[in-house]
Symmetry: C2
Subunit: 531 residues, 2 copies
């Protein structure tokens, strides 16, 4: 039988002006939530289409899919910017603007986050959004070609446009201190250029010191044993088994293949991850799946009562990354974890690993080696890749660095921070998609995620000292429950820094991460930790 889409439904939540003068705040709030649910459902539908595009869609369907996504994006935009939504928002506020309690209620947080959403969307004029969308599209395609042909000059005019438009974008969005604040704020609420500069300076300098110790240590570690043939099916089975043990619920999730791995969520009951397999390298899919399962468990853990509201999302990209990095690195690359899991891995790959000791395996998955490509970087050098990008994009937005001078500046920083120079721009300043998409202010969230992962992990272990033993026994409920209660369940109710402080008692700080790295890698590379 041929399936016609004959669903019928009706209702009156169409975007349109409403008469709110005689409506009580609670009635207005209900109406507001109904509209927000429609917006959430449209966003989830668009996410399903995007997931399908990356994992299932036949190649010939690209044009039609773009049209479908454009219509959904247009409708979402219309719903968010509809005057009726603002009116309902205002009518939902109680007269004194607070519930009387000192504790932020869900509804108060909802009004706050909704106001932020409407305001940031409405601040950008339609004509600007149109120009921006067209420019991103052109720039993205130019970047793909430029990367393929190692032709920075061909991409430079597009990057100049993206920098110019990003400055205009910042002006529209508004800022107090620095235009970069407005851009970074799109990904990390309540962060700032000033905070990043301070925290990252320490991170960068301390990491450089640590790296120099590692590079000059007598220990020579090798990841060679990870580079053997590993059948893809077994890679998948093992990685997914570990993710499921962590607590990634496969009744509400699934794993597929994608060229560029990601996690995506269509409610807390449908959170999917993707990975790619290298048949000759164990690390790619294994740690990729553990990483994405961290993102996914966050989304699966957002409280039911926040679903279909703007609060049903991660608190920020930094907090999101803290969860993926916690499970990938703090658990997944720890000695304790492999004391529990290595036997199972050896059973899965006896030919490759039966004769490899746990110590050698642990060493192999933690080799530190300055390299050119961010997404392949180890724990120690990863943040240096981010520091390069943060410092350069700040200068681009400030107008202190001209686009034409970017390759030279990039290479100089790689030489300074990592001791190596890219042989070409494809492996240099053309490697990341972010700038081509105008995503200035995004890169810092990767390092924020690293820093916060250790702060949160430490707090969980302080609350439950048994967690280290749990991990050794492949039991993760206690850790996951702590994360659920202190991070996941809240969605985006609290700004990220407040969430971090509520969970850990600390503000954002590079010291715990630097300390973690020094302890771990001094042990691995046989020197006395300095910090």
């Amino acid at each position: 039988m041929s399936k016609a889409n004959g669903a019928h439904a009706n209702g009156s939540a169409s975007p349109s002006s409403v008469s709110t003068s005689s409506v009580s705040p609670s009635a207005a709030l209900e109406a507001l939530k109904s509209r927000l649910a429609d917006i959430a459902n449209l966003e989830q539908a668009a996410s399903v289409l995007s997931w399908d595009q990356e994992t299932q869609m036949p190649v010939g369907a690209a044009g039609a899919r773009a049209e479908q996504l454009t219509t959904l994006a247009k409708l979402i935009h219309q719903h968010v910017t509809d005057a009726g939504l603002s009116e309902l928002l205002n009518a939902s506020k109680t007269p004194d603007g607070a519930s009387g309690s000192s504790e932020l209620s869900d509804d108060e947080a909802l009004l706050e986050v909704t106001e932020r959403l409407i305001s940031s969307t409405c601040k950008l004029p339609d004509t600007f959004v149109e120009t921006w969308t067209r420019a991103v599209n052109a720039s993205h395609h130019a970047w793909i070609d430029a990367r393929q042909n190692d032709d920075f000059a061909a991409f430079a005019p597009h990057l100049e446009t993206m920098v110019d438009l990003s400055r205009r974008r910042a002006d529209y969005l508004g800022y107090d201190d620095h235009p970069y604040d407005a851009l970074h704020d799109l990904y990390e609420r309540d962060s700032s250029t000033a905070i990043l500069k301070t925290v990252f300076a320490q991170l960068r300098d301390d990491t450089k010191v640590l790296l120099s110790h590692i590079v000059s240590s007598a220990t020579t570690a090798s990841a060679d044993l990870l580079h053997q043939p590993f059948t893809e099916e077994s890679q998948e089975t093992f990685a997914l088994d570990m993710a499921a043990r962590f607590g990634y619920d496969l009744n509400r999730g699934r794993l597929d293949r994608a060229v560029h791995p990601f996690a995506t969520s269509f409610s807390n009951n449908d959170v999917r991850i993707t990975t790619r397999y290298d048949p000759n390298f164990l690390g790619s899919a294994l740690f990729g799946v553990l990483h994405e399962s961290g993102h996914a468990m966050y989304e699966q853990g957002i409280a039911d009562r926040l679903q279909r509201t703007p609060l049903a999302a991660g608190a920020s990209l930094g907090i999101h990354e803290s969860q993926s990095r916690l499970w990938e690195n703090l658990v997944g690359r720890s000695k304790a974890f492999w004391e529990g899991a290595y036997g199972l891995l050896q059973e899965t790959f006896p030919k490759q690993l039966a004769d490899v000791s746990l110590d050698d395996f642990y060493q192999a998955i933690n080799v530190v080696s300055p390299s050119l490509i961010r997404v392949e970087a180890d724990e120690v050098t990863y943040n240096l890749h981010i520091m390069v990008r943060f410092e350069l994009e700040l200068e681009l937005i400030e107008g202190k660095l001209a686009v034409k001078d970017l390759p030279e500046a990039w290479n100089a920083k790689y030489q300074d921070y990592l001791g190596i120079t890219p042989p070409n721009n494809t492996r240099g300043c053309l490697q990341d998609i972010h700038w081509s998409a105008g995503s200035f202010g995004y890169f810092p969230t990767y390092s924020l995620g690293n820093l916060m992962s250790v702060q949160l992990f430490n707090a969980a272990k302080t609350a439950h000292p048994e967690i280290d033993d749990d991990i050794r026994n492949l039991r993760f409920e206690r850790l996951l429950t702590w994360l659920r209660d202190n991070v996941h369940a809240h969605g985006s109710k609290y700004p990220p820094q407040e969430l971090l402080e509520r969970a850990t008692g600390e503000r954002l700080d590079a010291a715990p991460y630097v300390h973690y790295l020094n302890q771990k890698y001094a042990d691995l590379y046989g020197f006395t930790p300095q910090i």
Copy 2:
């Protein structure tokens, strides 16, 4: 990286009243098309979500998916019933109501079909649609339980409701002669109860005669050889290879597993099919895939210029079924096809088929055997299953048959037409989903499809007598091109009967199908054809 749905777009095609007084017909038509494109994109998005639900979605996601689909259905309903759409439709009409040409232009057909769409949607009051949707939902769940427990009494009240609501639905939709006309018209434009009665009487009576010849023939055919272990992967590979040879373009399609197989389309560049595998029976997936590929090639063949309009759909369910049945039966169960394909099948399954002759295989896939289950019926008896349902649902809608008397009436007709009586209602009147969903008027389209498949196939062979040889050589371009040109490309531009007449020069007629069956099965069962 975690994937946020950050697409931006904007535009002004929001449903809302428009000032059309000063707009030229051509400008109004452009605006109308833009709105229709949004509606088409929303429908395609909903279809992607439904496909995902049936093939990929984790079990825990059902609730969230229902919410997403409800929002999309609501928005589609709002867009279709929006006053602005009607205004644009009226403003698009040229003063004299015609282009001057005697040939229907695409735009004229578009206005006609759009008017039909708006009118049938607007005729149903919102309160009725709400009641209907709730009733279908309750009835569907009651039907699942009743079928599982063989408990017709538990389902009967729901079926009574669906009959009552269907009569009301017919009243809202309007009709001249018979309330069933209004319901059937939802699936088969320009057909009628009177036409069905006439055509089906001949089909039923002639089929009964043919069946009596087959049943009393000396030839005993058996399908046993199809009931052996066949690995699912090889079943899939072979079936998909045949579908691809037919012309199902896998760059614009894909095959997945589903409990209830279907074909679905998200534009002519993304048309997907599904099947289910029985590891101990070759027929299920093989002919299922050929059937669905027929639906899919139809959708893939709709002209580009009709995409994202209401014309980018099959002309009717009957015409759609004619395409699936043509490829499944007239090609897929023909001697000519297996003269070309049987060697390949033997190579795929040497253990099972190496010693089976082509004649025995051809006999096995064409065994005629009166049975209880419609979806498992052979070519000859299939229409008798439909006649039972058509005649009974007509009586239900006319009020001549009470729901409580349905099982008895069902069993009596099975005894009369097929010579067998169901042992219980699960294998009797509870077997199909259609009535539980209120889809009265749907069943006849299956038989219309069968009849028209032969009329169209004959016309194609008259135009190209080489087609029989083509099929023997596994070459299908000539047949597919004829179907493309005469059926597929037109989408729903022409009403089905007009499309049939343009393609074949004939009106709907049971005689060619009856003749086809008699020729084929007299040969198979060793008697002289009567008709």
